[in-house]
């Protein structure tokens, strides 16, 4: 690195100056309002630079935009005048905070037609003008205020003066505030609504304490229990099942000589790339009252035909199928990262394989187990598609919330109350996870090359892993064979003669006078889906891993609360998120409905938690000494991330890229309210086909999506590459005992 170490204030100014300049650009040169959303009819802002806050505020009568210049001037003075350099951080902090607060406050207080809140009108008299939603100018200015503020914090010594960390925390917090807090707040604030818009604590209490939520009658008599108990029981069962399966798969894939590992990986990833109702449909066709397996069992063994699949067993089965891959993706990174030399040391000290596993390997896998369980638990709580199709009379919170919003009873307040309960359960799970992990260190990837050889698994564990993983893999294989086959049949389950007509209906191409015509019915939604997924996946991975870095590598006050905030959007059922996004983003200041942006934003913030979990699990294995070493050698935190941490995080990057890409393609509930006629998504289209009873086209389209996603996953694997840790492989060592 050239040049001597500089005084902190000197480095600070050029950086702050960049943000300050951008702030001025946003304020004085870029159009403040979005050009596309709804515009006020009175004095609409001009396009281009003439529509900037400065010019519009001076000429068009929107005087409330002008005070935003104040903090910009103040920061400019503090940065430019050498006299003020000692106080510059404090001034930056104050002006950034004021600018941000003012921008937000005026945006919310003044809507399309003047004051947005009645009491302001009563206080100040009516406002003749209104304003539209934030545009490029407002976004850039707000961002500049945010970074001026975090630079100020860093300058005052917070975060050890590391401006990158301060800025990153500020950015993540601001994003979560805008895209998770704001919308969720809109929905949850309705929990105490009496139906007239007034708040009443009694209404809130009666909703929260309703007997159909909490009753325990299933223990004492043959009646259904409250939805909370159903949901918790289901989520715990799913969590345990998926964690065990994920662990078994990870152990088989990493720690055994199993031959067809690649195939195994593919099979485990299949369910994650399948729209959920397709699995449910296949499960009905196998285990339903008229299902293949059911009939065979009835014929051969005389097992009476029943509807056992509708209810808890069916939902548990499909959820386990659907969430095992996520748990596997989290677990495999952790199992790969465990340093073999620790196990070798244990064995040198004459520990048996079993003792080694119990006292060394297992404790080191705990972050993986805990994170996998937490994700599956929360996924199960929020899952909507499987209980909808297979739930029967078994009610869970997520479906109850959905029907409280869209059902015949139509009670958003009840949905909000149930949403609060769901959130509290997720908070509880999160707290338990933290308690179990404790404050121990799980770092095994250190600076010293670990030259150990991964020890063989104890025999019992190995048999258990095989016995769990292989039948499950076979089951998955059968299910997918069925699904792929279903796309080629005339009418699946009814008339199994082969046909290509479903594929032709969906993906037909023809030549017209103007060239190629995409005449199939699925092309439009397919292109939008790919666009949205491809845009949101890298953003999700970036935001998620940045957050994971902050959580694992930095220590700051309120970190626990920060971590929980990042999990919020995951814990809420997609439908509620969808409604909340309309409520929050349909009118100024942030107007996004009807655009493709709202889909991308929704996916990024909904899928971010998995990316964070994968990052946290992988990062807690990497010894801090590697970062410290890099920092000692003069690298900054960005360089350390780029050259040291990122290459070690490859499994986590793959997991989060794959997951967010795939979820953007397969999830349905969150976007059902957000898709606009212009931007239809594949899953919304497929669900429409299923409702119509046109399973052929639905399955053909799903199969095509599955193939497409497999290709993309392979590409991501190829591009990001494997993590290279200094490990020897067991193959050249002949002294090693042969696996039994």
């Amino acid at each position: 690195m050239p040049g001597p170490q500089k005084f902190a204030g000197d480095v600070m100014r050029p950086r702050s100056a960049v943000w300050l300049a951008l702030g001025w650009v946003g304020f004085a040169l870029l159009p403040w309002f979005a050009g596309s959303g709804t515009q006020p009819t009175l004095a609409p802002p001009s396009p281009g630079p003439a529509g900037s806050a400065l010019i519009d505020g001076l000429t068009n009568g929107r005087w409330w935009l002008l005070p935003a210049a104040l903090p910009l001037i103040l920061a400019l003075v503090a940065t430019a005048l050498p006299r003020l350099h000692a106080r510059q951080p404090a001034i930056l902090l104050a002006s950034g905070a004021f600018g941000l607060a003012w921008t937000a406050a005026q945006g919310f207080a003044i809507g399309l037609n003047g004051w947005a809140w009645g009491w302001l009108g009563a206080l100040f008299g009516p406002l003749p003008l209104g304003q539209g939603g934030f545009g490029a100018g407002a976004a850039l200015t707000a961002l500049s205020f945010l970074f001026l503020m975090t630079n100020g914090f860093a300058g005052l010594g917070f975060m050890k003066g590391d401006r990158f960390t301060a800025g990153a925390i500020g950015l993540v917090l601001a994003a979560i505030a805008a895209f998770v807090f704001l919308p969720v707040g809109y929905v949850l604030s309705g929990a105490g609504d009496t139906g007239t818009g007034a708040f009443s604590a009694a209404a809130l209490w009666s909703r929260l304490a309703a007997p159909d939520i909490w009753r325990l009658s299933c223990l004492t008599e043959a009646k259904a229990c409250g939805v909370v108990w159903n949901s918790v029981f289901l989520a715990v069962m799913t969590g345990i099942a998926t964690t065990l399966l994920g662990l078994a798969f990870a152990l088989v894939a990493v720690r055994t000589g199993f031959r067809a590992k690649k195939l195994l990986r593919v099979l485990t990833v299949l369910p994650i790339i399948t729209p959920p109702f397709v699995i449910s449909l296949a499960v009905i066709l196998l285990f339903g009252r008229n299902g293949t397996v059911t009939l065979v069992l009835a014929d051969w063994f005389g097992i009476p035909v029943s509807r056992w699949i509708y209810g808890l067993p069916g939902v548990l089965l499909t959820q386990t199928l659907a969430f095992t891959p996520i748990s596997f993706l989290v677990m495999i990174g952790v199992v790969q990262g465990i340093g073999p030399s620790l196990e070798e040391a244990a064995q040198t000290l004459r520990a048996s394989r079993w003792v080694t596993f119990r006292t060394v390997t297992w404790p080191l896998m705990r972050p993986g187990v805990a994170n996998a369980f937490l994700i599956s638990f929360i996924e199960s709580l929020a899952d909507f598609g499987n209980p909808l199709i297979l739930g029967g009379n078994f009610e869970v919170l997520s479906t109850k919330i959905y029907f409280a919003v869209v059902g015949a009873q139509n009670d958003p307040g009840r949905a909000a109350a149930l949403g609060i309960i769901l959130l509290c359960m997720c908070l509880g799970a999160f707290w338990v996870q933290r308690q179990w992990l404790g404050k121990k260190s799980y770092a095994t990837v250190g600076g010293k090359g670990d030259n150990g050889i991964p020890s063989q698994l104890p025999r019992g564990i190995k048999i258990a892993a095989y016995a769990t993983a292989l039948p499950w893999a076979a089951f998955t294989f059968v299910l997918y064979g069925l699904i792929l086959f279903g796309g080629f049949t005339e009418n699946w389950g009814r008339n199994n003669s082969l046909t290509l007509r479903h594929y032709l209906a969906a993906f037909d191409l023809s030549w017209g006078p103007g060239g190629l015509i995409w005449s199939g019915r699925a092309w439009g939604s397919l292109f939008t889906t790919i666009e949205v997924a491809a845009l949101s996946a890298p953003l999700t991975a970036a935001v998620g891993l940045l957050t994971a870095y902050l959580l694992v590598r930095q220590r700051f006050k309120g970190q626990g609360a920060f971590e929980f905030l990042t999990m919020l959007s995951f814990a809420i059922p997609g439908t509620v998120i969808g409604i909340s996004y309309i409520l929050a983003f349909n009118q100024p200041p942030i107007e996004l409905t009807g655009t493709v942006t709202i889909l991308i934003v929704c996916f990024v913030f909904r899928n971010m938690p998995v990316s964070i979990r994968a990052g946290v699990a992988a990062m807690s294995q990497i010894d801090r000494s590697l970062d410290e070493c890099s920092l000692t050698l003069g690298a900054g935190s960005v360089q350390t991330i780029r050259r040291v941490i990122l290459p070690l995080l490859r499994p986590a990057i793959v997991a989060s890229l794959v997951y967010s890409f795939v979820r953007a393609i397969t999830s349905i509930s969150a976007v059902i309210f957000l898709v606009s006629p212009k931007y239809e998504l594949a899953t919304a289209y497929i669900v429409g086909r299923v409702e119509q009873g046109d399973f052929g086209l639905a399955i053909a389209y799903s199969s095509a999506l599955i193939v497409l996603m497999s290709v993309v996953i392979a590409l991501i694997q190829l591009l990001v590459g494997e993590r290279r840790i200094g490990r020897r492989t067991a193959t050249p060592v002949t002294l090693q005992e042969k696996p039994v």
Binding site: G3, R307, N495
Partner: protein, 349 residues
């Protein structure tokens, strides 16, 4: 820290920040040209009427299919700044609810006189904010193969459903979740009287194997032989029949209720003239013919429209004089649903 490191940091944060700015602003909503319609019927029909309207008027229609509950939830959430122009199709109940909440606009069509009386009654109930475009009667759907195999005669009346052969063989949606099932509940109350209806439902509960969440789900379950009988809107059953499943439908002999598929113009639409043109088109014989063209067999509301031969003949069905006024209100709905919860749901397995 060196300044070089700092610049890299700036760039890194800047990229993230620029990403968020781009995400916020770079993708504009398309201009307010085409008419935005929420569609409550099957997707083929949605597409067909959009294409037909575009061919006739040259105005593009952006059509999005939503179930009735989802459409109402969306219109309500958007009410401060509506993005939808017309809500077309779906049961009349939620349309009445939207009218009651003032989410839709009153408009009288010059074709009003051509409409069937039930379509006009929807108009009157909603104070002009909504009008009927089709009717669909409530009925039974049953699996003919399974019935023949078990030598059970097809159900013809509400009372037949209580027969012991149908033990654990009937599906109906949960009225808390589905408008179809609420129509069934209200119909039974009108046919048997309120106490009689709840007595009936208590007995029926022994024969019900599942209260589904979606109103048309029992039809799919009957088609796939998962259950013997479903209580549904008859056109949903006919749909399965047309798809090649061994099912048939029947209307209960004691009389049955029906839904009035409706159309409403959203209050605050920015394309009022086009919205009115679409409304007129939806009421015209030409617009209503799009249903039969796409194998949708509801009864059209315009007397001049051709009736699809597959449609259940409304004259052959004993229709009750369904009191939408009473059973459409929020209070009555809440009261009946709470009673259902307390007396039926509580004893359900």
């Amino acid at each position: 820290m060196t300044s070089a490191g700092n610049w890299i940091k700036s760039v890194g944060l800047g990229i993230l920040a620029a990403g968020s700015v781009i995400a916020l602003t770079a993708t504009p909503a398309k201009a307010q040209g085409p008419l935005t319609v929420l569609c409550g019927v099957q997707e083929e029909w949605c597409k067909a009427i959009a294409v037909a309207f575009e061919k006739k008027t040259g105005t593009a229609v952006a059509m999005s299919r939503k179930s009735a509950g989802e459409a109402l939830a969306q219109i309500r959430a958007e009410s401060a700044n509506p993005k939808t122009d017309v809500w077309w199709g779906g049961p009349g109940d939620p349309h009445l609810q939207a009218a009651e909440e003032g989410l839709t606009l009153a408009y009288e069509s010059p074709q009003f006189a051509d409409l069937q009386p039930w379509a006009q009654s929807q108009y009157k109930q909603s104070q002009g904010r909504s009008v009927g475009i089709y009717a669909g009667a409530l009925g039974f759907v049953y699996n003919t193969e399974l019935l023949a195999k078990r030598k059970i005669s097809a159900p013809k009346c509400w009372a037949d459903l209580l027969r012991p052969e149908f033990r654990e063989e009937i599906q109906i949606a949960n009225p808390n979740a589905s408008g179809t099932a609420y129509t069934a509940l209200a119909t039974l109350v009108q046919v048997l009287g309120e106490d009689g209806a709840f007595d009936y439902l208590k007995k029926l509960n022994d024969n019900v194997n599942q209260y589904t969440k979606s109103g048309s789900a029992p039809a799919a379950a009957v088609a796939r032989s998962e259950t013997l009988v479903g209580i549904i809107f008859m056109h949903d059953g006919i749909n399965q029949k047309v798809n090649g499943f061994p099912v048939d439908v029947a209307a209960p002999c004691e009389g049955t209720g029906y839904e009035i598929g409706s159309v409403s113009i959203i209050k605050g639409t920015k394309n009022l003239d086009t919205a009115k043109a679409f409304y007129e088109f939806a009421l015209s014989p030409e617009g209503q013919a799009t249903g039969a063209e796409t194998k949708q067999f509801q009864m059209p509301s315009n007397r001049k429209a051709a009736i699809p031969p597959e449609a259940p003949k409304l004259e052959a069905i004993r229709m009750i004089d369904y009191n939408f006024q009473k059973f459409g209100t929020a209070e009555e709905r809440k009261r009946l649903l709470s009673r259902w919860d307390a007396e039926i749901k509580a004893v359900a397995k």
